[in-house]
């Protein structure tokens, strides 16, 4: 079992440091964001399990040959408070330390996930309340003329803000989710561009991107000093945007989408980059 623990430790290290670094620079992510997204999920899951598994397997090694057997043995000894038996089994302080580490790490990860979930849900509820009270539905603004072919665009809510903005707020059910557009964005976009940006936000909601970003946010909050959590969080945010772009492009022209997205990010510095590298910058 010690060799297995060593293997898991090496695996945890590989998944925590060099692999995320490589993947965050990999070019294929722009071509197939789905594949990159699956890979990140696999890395996070396997990395987390290996991280907990390595000390767990090492700590359990003196207690029995298999995982099941040794866990049962530890629980039996704990219940009987039979600490003299530890010496007969050749349990070293390092084994006890490793076991404690594994248990604490596992608890820490679960609690952070839970805390993030509660916090995100709370601030989202607050935000939805504010949107409901402060916004007007888009169709009300345009008059009832669009009623017969009401689309997702008509269900979008408009807030009075100068900054061009578009975002979505996931709700518990799909019906309680809202897409929010700012007055400033509405003033600058044509109907086709508006439809494209709403389709982009709808793709976020349909594909449940908020769950992915929340999980990776929790993963980062739990272990912020680990390269994998930092790269993973950034990459997943970026990939959800790419996936939403792809979703929107199934029904809308790329030009409409590009214009609307470029406008809806006020502080973007794409201009300078494109000027420096020329428009043929590899993507």
């Amino acid at each position: 079992m010690t060799s297995l623990a060593l293997f898991l430790a090496v695996l945890a290290f590989l998944l925590a440091v060099p692999i995320p670094r490589l993947l965050s620079r990999a070019r294929f992510r722009a071509r197939s964001p789905w594949a990159a997204m699956l890979l990140w999920q696999a890395i996070a899951l396997a990395g987390g399990l290996a991280l907990i598994g390595a000390p767990l397997v090492y700590g359990l090694s003196p207690f029995g040959g298999s995982l099941h057997e040794s866990v049962a043995e530890v629980l039996k000894l704990l219940r009987a408070a039979d600490f003299t038996a530890l010496e007969d089994l050749h349990v070293l302080p390092t084994h006890v330390f490793a076991l404690c580490l594994a248990v604490m790490l596992g608890t820490h990860l679960l609690l952070t996930l839970l805390r993030t979930y509660v916090r995100v849900l709370g601030s989202r509820r607050r935000h939805r309340d504010l949107v409901r009270l402060l916004s007007t539905p888009l169709d009300e603004r345009r008059g009832a003329t669009t009623a017969p072919n009401a689309t997702a665009v008509d269900e979008a809510h408009v807030i009075e803000a100068e900054a061009p903005l578009a975002y979505c707020l996931p709700g518990r059910t799909h019906a309680s989710s809202v897409t929010v557009l700012s007055r400033g964005l509405l003033d600058q976009l044509s109907d086709a561009e508006l439809a494209a940006v709403v389709a982009h936000e709808q793709t976020h909601l349909h594909q449940r991107h908020h769950l992915l970003t929340m999980a990776f946010d929790a993963w980062y909050r739990a272990l912020p000093w680990l390269p994998t959590t930092r790269y993973g969080r950034e990459a997943v945010l970026e990939l959800t945007e790419m996936l939403a772009d792809d979703g929107a492009m199934q029904h809308h022209s790329r030009d409409d989408l590009l214009r609307s997205l470029a406008l809806s990010t006020p502080e973007m510095s794409l201009i300078d980059d494109a000027d420096a590298d020329g428009p043929s910058r590899p993507a």
Partner: protein, 114 residues
């Protein structure tokens, strides 16, 4: 029939526009719809629970006021959104390779003007 959400919106905009705090009776009198005071009180209680409305308990009847102005709430929302926004630049960059020179120029013009 107006839903509770619609009523919350009308009551809230009344309180935002009002310079002084209002009692439930004042609110009912100023609303277009013909409502029972108990309904207004229910709506006000819901808004208080959402921290949108503050209640002055020193007076009888209790008087209600908006906890913050429309603008303050809008700023609260925008800060939250901008704080969590991801880096669009990197995401949009993947399109750059695939667009023509004239499209790229047009895109840059849009970006510059915003």
């Amino acid at each position: 029939m107006a839903t509770l959400g619609d009523l919350e919106r009308s009551v809230m905009s009344l309180l935002w526009d009002s310079a002084e705090s209002l009692s439930a009776n004042d609110v009912r009198d100023r609303l277009d719809e013909d409502l029972a005071v108990t309904t207004v009180l229910t709506v006000l209680a819901r808004l208080e629970k959402k921290n949108m409305v503050t209640r002055e308990r020193s007076s009888r009847p209790h008087r209600y006021a908006a906890a913050a102005s429309r603008e303050e709430h809008t700023v609260e929302m925008l800060n939250e959104v901008l704080g969590t926004a991801s880096d669009r630049e990197a995401v949009l960059a993947r399109f750059i390779g695939g667009i023509s020179d004239s499209e790229a120029t047009a895109l840059r013009r849009i970006l510059r003007s915003s």
